[in-house]
Symmetry: C2
Subunit: 312 residues, 2 copies
């Protein structure tokens, strides 16, 4: 899995930075990706990043400010006109359906694939669950309803101890699978092999928290708890905490405190105000690192690898 930042600017596009979107590549066997937010020009960024719209499986929208959604109508339309037939599910705050339906009606657009729109309301909760992942949404604190997302991969079964299995004379085949699932197995000769004796501890799943625009809040910390990666807005530098609070945003230091309090492994800062240019990023990054050393400032097209955790 890897996360590619498609837009890292707040409010409006700047030179070399587009408005918010990021693409989370699912595990390779799945071959798909999920999109988080979809500012204007996101379909252009996907084109540049070489990510195919037909492989887009799911979109999660944090909130309905234009810099997070104005790329949706074009992206949804292009995904149809280029002939994609795979279904797509869109998760987002209440109001998104009305806006998209009005947009489609007024502009005479149709999508020819199955598009499911699932609105999120109130306290959020589990918004998606499949055999590999659970996604939880929780309300943050912004000027309008805004959700953060926690993506949790299910733990995977531990590794079979092949040497031990050979020593015990367990024949390869269905019994191996049974043991790997954690079930004890009875051999043809009547001996019972306990899964716990031949299977290593489960491999914990990866956790990624992708938060929307917000002031520092408990919900952000809870969503980011123990995450391998937290993507957090840092619209302003540490000295502008008042301004950040006034507009419902966070500073670099505030984002870092959330990551620290959540005992996350890494923090990726994004959604920088237009006042900051590329040459300001090292300074913003340094502000966060003072609080939380594993901080980095995102740039458009930065890709962060999310390797499996080692066995604990």
């Amino acid at each position: 899995m890897e996360l590619t930042m498609l837009g890292t600017a707040a409010g409006r596009p700047a030179e070399g930075r587009n408005v918010t979107a990021s693409a989370l590549a699912m595990p390779p066997q799945r071959g798909t990706f999920w999109l988080f937010d979809c500012g204007e020009g996101t379909q252009h960024q996907l084109l540049r990043a070489g990510l195919k719209l037909c492989k887009l499986e799911r979109i999660f929208v944090t909130h309905l400010h234009g810099d997070h959604v104005f790329g949706l109508p074009g992206l949804l339309g292009s995904r149809s006109s280029m002939g994609c037939e795979t279904p797509l599910t869109l998760h987002g705050p209440r109001g998104i359906r009305h806006w998209l339906e009005t947009t489609f009606t007024v502009t005479g657009a149709h999508v020819h694939y199955e598009l499911e729109i699932r609105e999120i309301d109130g306290d959020g909760g589990v918004v998606h669950e499949d055999d590999q992942f659970t996604v939880t949404a929780a309300p943050l604190n912004h000027r309008i309803a805004c959700y953060g997302y926690r993506i949790e991969e299910r733990p995977r079964p531990g590794k079979l101890d092949a040497a031990k299995l050979a020593e015990l004379g367990v024949p390869q085949g269905p019994l191996y699978a049974q043991l790997k699932r954690g079930e004890d197995a009875t051999l043809p000769d009547g001996r019972v092999i306990r899964a716990a004796d031949v299977v290593g501890p489960p491999i914990p799943g990866r956790i990624i928290a992708i938060l929307g625009d917000t002031t520092p809040c408990d919900a952000a910390v809870r969503l980011a708890e123990g995450a391998d990666l937290v993507v957090h807005e840092a619209t302003f530098e540490a000295a502008l905490a008042d301004k950040a609070a006034e507009y419902g945003h966070s500073t670099t230091a505030e984002a870092a405190r959330t990551a620290r309090d959540a005992r996350a492994a890494r923090l990726l800062l994004t959604h920088f105000s237009g006042r900051y240019r590329d040459e300001d990023l090292p300074r913003l990054e340094a502000e966060a690192r003072e609080v939380f050393p594993s901080s980095a400032a995102a740039r458009d097209f930065l890709t962060v690898q999310l390797p499996h955790k080692r066995r604990t």
Copy 2:
């Protein structure tokens, strides 16, 4: 005056081509520009072209298909968030107000400058008039209501014949201005100087026709009549006339016939289907030139100069 093509692709962005928009720079003393259509990413293209949103005076939308309007909400919002205070008028087919108002409401957007939305309905007609220009809209023939625009500059008074005025003993000053306006003038000594004797013929204004998506039709020819420049879609190559007709579009050769029948000076082809790449453009251009020699295929960021006509 000059016209800069900001997007020349049909339907969805392609490599190196954005969806439709073009910017018409007004005469230098005005310092503003007009925008024709506003596909997704137009504000990004303006940024790249160095055109300032605060200088945008007027937007004309041909029709409500997404590839011509999905850049509007972001552009209108950015124009406000960057602090522009100059008013802006948006002309477009009926439905555009409802869509923009819904979009602003759902996304909590506000614009802090004066935004006037003027809907065009039925047969169109004169949609804008000022001391320099008249803009006429007329319905074309597309899958939904679509208008073409004819921008006509008013003729400017002819040049004063300075030698003749000196010979006649006309004193410089208010009498010169009066004669230049075409009014006869009475000298202090009682002689009457006829404007027609000392002022050259009026300098005709420039005419630009920017048409929307359409099959070949009489309205297109009328809008383009005698134009210095016609911007016409050429979604398909000449051999695909059936396909063009089926989707409400034109071929290269059809666009060229319209320019020829309108006795226009120059034709700029745009809105190319995604099936065509840069290397196909010379071929498309050649198809048009067979019918109308002064044809050219547009590329993104191509700027066409529109010099004053010579005196006729």
